[in-house]
Amino acid sequence: MSNEDVLNPKRMPHEPEKATLEGKNKFLGFWFFLGGETVLFASLFGTYLALNDSTAGGPSADELFGLELVFIMTMLLLTSSLTSVYAIYHMKNNDLGKMLVWLGVTVALGFAFLGCEIYEFYHYIHGEHFTFRSSAFGSAFYTLVGFHGGHVLFGLLWILSLIIRNAKRGINLYNAPKFYVASLYWHFIDVVWVFIFTVVYLMGKVG
């Protein structure tokens, strides 16, 4: 396949993200990377579970967490997962405009989530004097949730740069795998969050 065909295909195939060898490699490589990320987050979850009672006299999970904000954050991230599905749906139908709109919504929801998280951390640090350094529990909490937040931020910047870069040119066989892989990453972030709200917040509340 010539470079010209990759950038301006005469017809878009059924699955543009896997139409070229490069696309297939990206697709597979990214899935494998997510397999590794699973272990990364498992190590962080394990550390958190080992240390979540080690409050060293500071506030415990039960005293600290409020569920209202976490519920809102969960809804935001879950919805953003669906909107990125919509974006990929329109990508497969070769509809650039609609894809960009849905990606835009995804990014907006992601930033709202991140805003809530920053507010939450700010509240813990200044309201409750619960910091990264106050106890092993504090270190483990901020590290686990912060790693997830870092992933969210990275994903947002990534999707934003993809939107800006490709806003003026159509979907082609070169950028379709990039969009697809970015959406996989976004779903994975949601997968991790499902366990965070269950293991950290809900189980923290149950005690």
């Binding site: 490699n25 494998f32 272990v39 240390l51 270190s139 740069s161």
Partner: protein
């Protein structure tokens, strides 16, 4: 662009070519040279250790320096010598063995190398910047979290960066092997080396994230005041041990499995027989990889995990002896009745079998949790893991380098000098480490700076140190051989050993696109299948056409440079907050490069059919 053309253009162009290359064959050279240099450095550290322990109550180096030596010896040899040398072999051989023109992610391949090098250089900068890490290569907390100075900071940052490179390399080879195999190269026709690399890469994928997390926790504790390993604030030091060994035990299989694969190819080639029990070998490789994740806590029998956990991990550990035994017997049966040629590569491989078997046997001894209380932290353990790591990994690297040297550099290494490398090294190795079993059983603890007179340890340590000099001599002969071969030996043919697998069907060294036409694979040992039907080479699977190649790029180098700069910022911001500026500059460079990579179209270029035809036959 062949190497010859690059050399004509002068040193600057040659350097630029290697800084920007995305060609797996050149990246293999880079890995080999830098891994080789770190191997010499680690060897030098080992020699200093052995000189210090030559006689009782020796004052050759101070106690603090001794701690730094033993830490850096272990860390260097595992992360900066063995890993890159294995990656050199993987890069040089795997794409050729599966009939591919390049790896799946040439750009990431280059990035993986430069990250490794950045990490390795950071780690070794510690020598000149106030002292090397001194908490052992395992860096157990709280010894490591309370170690004064910046030594352990260099360990944390250096390994973090090098580890990221390794993870990238692992994913790259997984995708390469899954997606880039030539037509007809089914999984069960892959050479054993490729199979081993596949399993190894899976282990890298699942093991390295645990190290990443462990290193982050230690970094946060040492540099940002968190309390993961600080018992006063509720921390738990055992978390580090578990994270380290969840990574660390698969790591030893990451080291040995590729060489198991290489030995299989070498035995088969130089016995002129197909590998005995191919499918059993594949099964054993996968099983070792699988079991490799269930045994890590046998490094921690004396930690106090309790009898139940100790028993479980003792049993899983002993179970690994079964697939390893399958392999040993299959190698023996491959040689049995074969037309054996005693080349240097074969010599290293044959020497590996008894050596590794001794290491495996002491491994089963150590796996008995109750007995381990006696062996733990003595020279018995040191002897055991040197028997498997030197006897397996280093012997394997020497064997593979002698075997694949013509494919990497176009010349067969001189056989006489090869044998002069082997014998002193082999004899020296057993002199050094066999006696250490007994030193350990007599109670000599590992990692001690000195031993005293009159405890019966003098002779053993003397013999051990003498052996080390033999090994050093062998290594020097190898270096001489490399130079001698480059100057004096003649150019090697495509297939100097009457080989069996695809890499021997193309010229030595191969053109930059590897295969002019993708070969059609019709069975296990594809080249041998064609030869046995009287054909000279592979049947092409496609007509001659344009070949798509990736563009070179300087970005991987700059990205790694950014992390290198940021690394120093992280280490020194503890002393003065102004150093944080380096973190921002460095991370800015790296993230900026990532952005450029993401938004700049890089579709590669095509080598045209007409140009290929002009080059003639091969």
């Amino acid at each position: 662009m062949s190497t010859a053309v690059a050399q004509k253009k002068g040193f600057g162009a040659f350097l630029w070519d290697y800084l920007t290359t995305v060609d797996h064959k050149k990246i293999a050279h880079l890995y080999l040279v830098s891994g080789g240099l770190f191997f010499l450095l680690g060897g030098l550290e080992a020699m200093i250790i052995r000189i210090q322990l030559m006689k009782p109550d020796n004052e050759f180096i101070s106690a603090g320096l001794y701690n730094e030596m033993l830490t850096m010896h272990g860390t260097t040899m595992i992360f900066l010598a063995a890993m890159p040398l294995i990656f050199a072999l993987m890069n040089a051989v795997v794409p050729l063995q599966i009939g591919a023109r390049d790896v799946a992610f040439p750009f990431l391949n280059s990035l993986g190398f430069w990250l490794f090098l950045a990490g390795g250089v950071i780690l070794n900068c510690s020598w000149f910047m106030g002292g090397a890490p001194d908490a052992g290569w395992t860096a157990y907390a709280p010894l490591s979290t309370t170690s004064p100075g910046h030594g352990v900071d260099f360990y944390v940052i250096g390994l973090q960066i090098a580890g990221a490179g390794t993870l990238i390399g692992g994913i790259n080879f997984l995708v390469t092997i899954v997606n880039m195999r030539a037509p007809g190269m089914s999984y069960m026709r892959m050479p054993l080396f490729t199979w081993a690399v596949f399993v190894t890469s899976t282990l890298i994928l699942f093991a390295f994230p645990a190290l990443t997390v462990g290193l982050f926790l230690m970094m946060f504790d040492r540099m940002f005041g968190s309390a993961f390993f600080d018992v006063n604030a509720g921390g738990n030091v055992i978390i580090w041990e578990h994270l380290f060994w969840i990574f660390g035990h698969p790591e030893v299989y990451i080291l040995i499995l590729p060489l198991f694969g290489a030995f299989s190819d070498i035995f088969s080639t130089f016995s002129k027989k197909r590998l005995f029990g191919y499918s059993a070998m594949v099964f054993a490789t996968v099983l070792i990889g699988f079991l490799g994740f269930m045994v890590w806590a046998h490094h921690m029998f004396t930690t106090g995990m309790g009898p139940v956990a100790n028993s479980i991990f003792a049993v899983t550990t002993m179970a690994i002896a079964v697939p390893t035994g399958i392999k040993i017997f299959n190698w023996l049966f491959t040689m049995w009745g074969g037309a054996i040629r005693m080349t240097t590569a074969m010599l290293w491989s044959i020497a590996f079998i008894p050596t590794f078997t001794i290491g495996g046997m002491t491994g089963v001894m150590l796996a008995s949790a109750a007995a381990d209380y006696q062996y733990h932290d003595t020279y018995f353990v040191v002897a055991h893991f040197h028997y498997v790591i030197v006897g397996g990994v280093v012997f394997g690297i020497f064997a593979s380098l002698h075997y694949w040297w013509p494919k990497m550099f176009g010349k067969v290494l001189n056989e006489k000098l090869g044998k002069l490398t082997f014998w002193p090294f082999f004899i020296g190795f057993h002199l050094t480490f066999f006696i250490q079993h007994f030193l350990g059983l007599m109670g000599m603890p590992r990692r001690y700076w000195k031993f005293l007179e009159g405890q019966g340890l003098e002779t053993g340590n003397m013999i051990s140190s003498i052996g080390a000099f033999f090994m050093a001599f062998g290594t020097i002969v190898f270096l001489i051989n490399v130079v001698y071969t480059a100057v004096k030996e003649e150019k090697a043919p495509a297939d100097p050993y009457d080989g069996r697998t695809l890499e021997w069907s193309i010229p030595s060294p191969p053109p930059f696109y590897n295969f002019k036409q993708t070969p059609l694979v019709r069975g296990l040992d594809p080249l041998w299948v064609e030869k046995s039907e009287g054909k000279k080479g592979m049947t092409p699977a496609e007509p001659l056409g344009d070949i798509h190649m990736p563009n070179s790029s300087i970005l991987p180098f700059v990205m790694s440079l950014g992390l290198f700069i940021a690394g120093f910022g992280f280490i020194y911001q503890v002393d003065n907050i102004a150093w944080l500026s380096l973190v921002f500059i460095g991370m800015g460079i790296t993230l900026g490069c990532m952005l450029i990579r993401s938004v700049k179209d890089d579709l590669g270029y095509h080598v045209h059919k007409e140009d290929l035809e002009e080059e003639g036959g091969h």
